[in-house]
Amino acid sequence: MLPPKTHPKWKELVCGKLKVTFTLLATKFFVTRVTGRAKIDPSMENINRLIDEAYAFFKKNEKLAQKDIQAIFGQEPK
């Protein structure tokens, strides 16, 4: 189960502050896009929108991206 959007790792992810190794190609492309957008517009409104996008991406790919989810949130995401 994905952590709620209020989990601080979501913000770290979209702001490019997480240094983790991703496995899924889709994750690598997706993270590059959202971190690029966060650099262009770091307003809270945009960051929250990007967190919504990130949550939707991992929700949709929760099974295939399990390794990436664990890399972001640790072994037991809560």
Binding site: T21, L25, K28, F29, F30, T32, R33, A56, K63, L64
Partner: protein, 327 residues
């Protein structure tokens, strides 16, 4: 099943009700009956025996048995973002786009901005023609269900998968970023005049000429661990611009690739890391030409040699594949 077959063999498969993704010379594809297939024009392939160019055979990839149903649609330039909207909730989408068209350019420049594009698997390739036929014949795509052809629209097959199976798209790139200068741009495009080298504004063509860049090495960007190539098409000294086979994007750091001496060995090394049988695979015409892949194998990763590979977005000099995973 992925194999290079005669027209008669493909015809028999279509008649038997096989669901096929086809690649071949236009004249061969036009001889096929209607049925459950989509196709694109190209006469270059990596077969089990190695790379080859032939106008006598068609490369056929059967849709895996895990595909339950599928739909096919054409998309013009304005309709392209609908590809993502039409993607099945649980499955994958396979697109073929004719090269040198507005659809090709628009897809490459804008696909990363299609909402939700990375949420569901999108794979495909850019159709082409024999290299000596560029400018004489046009790349095309065809929907075998209707018999409709197009030279300016994309054909896409949206496949639903049975539960507990998911499609994963991957790439095999023989190139990695070198340690040289970092090149960035402030706007996206296939054609670049001014860029930034280590933050300093330069004319890119002059920079490439000065540094003897413009041959077979692509620029490489690191997309959070995925190496993404942009191949150099031409350095135009008169226009003082550089043309690429895919767009450069702002906020991405590009560096010239490390040279690859032996493409076959480089592919074998990277393919060896993949522990799965590919359901689909395609490679790049530039790898075929620059890497002299004629007669050389790339393991089980057989398929068409294309004018561009699609793994969510347009890639260059890269092998793209899809595997099915139990979930």
């Amino acid at each position: 099943m992925r194999a290079i077959l005669s027209v008669e063999e493909v015809e028999a498969l279509i008649t038997a009700g096989e669901k096929l993704l086809l690649a071949g010379d236009e004249d061969l594809l036009r001889r096929l009956p209607k049925g459950d297939w989509v196709g694109g024009t190209i006469p270059y392939f990596i077969a089990e025996t190695g790379g080859l160019m032939t106008r006598e055979k068609i490369f056929a990839s059967a849709l895996p048995p895990e595909v339950t149903t599928f739909e096919t649609h054409f998309y013009n330039e304005q309709q392209l973002p609908r590809i993502v909207v039409d993607e099945p909730n649980h499955g994958f989408s396979f697109v073929i786009i004719p090269a040198f068209t507005r659809v090709h350019q628009s897809f490459a420049e804008n696909v990363q901005n299609y909402p939700g594009v990375f949420e569901r698997p999108l794979i495909g390739w850019v159709s082409g023609v024999a290299l000596d036929q560029i400018g004489k014949r046009t790349p095309k795509v065809v929907d075998g269900r209707t018999g409709q052809w197009s030279e300016d629209g994309a054909v896409c097959l949206h496949a639903n998968l049975r539960e507990n199976v998911a499609a994963e798209i991957g790439i095999v790139n023989p190139f990695v970023q070198g340690n040289g200068d970092t090149i960035t741009v402030d706007h996206s495009g296939f054609k670049i005049t001014n860029a930034y080298v280590n933050g300093e504004r330069v004319n890119l063509a002059e920079y490439f000429v000065t540094h003897d860049i413009g041959g077979r090495l692509p620029l490489v960007a690191n997309y959070s661990g995925a190496m993404v190539n942009v191949s150099i098409k031409s350095v135009n000294r008169g226009e003082k611009s550089v043309e690429f086979y895919a767009p450069l994007f702002p906020n991405i750091d590009y560096r010239l690739a490390v040279p690859v001496e032996d493409y076959e060995a480089a592919f074998a090394r990277e393919i060896g890391k993949i522990c799965a049988e590919p359901s689909l695979s395609m490679n790049c015409i530039l790898n075929y030409v620059y890497g002299r892949l004629e007669g050389k194998r790339t393991g089980d990763f057989t398929g068409p040699i294309t004018f561009g590979e699609i793994a969510y977005g347009l890639l260059n000099q890269t092998l793209v594949y899809m595997v099915l995973r139990n979930t």
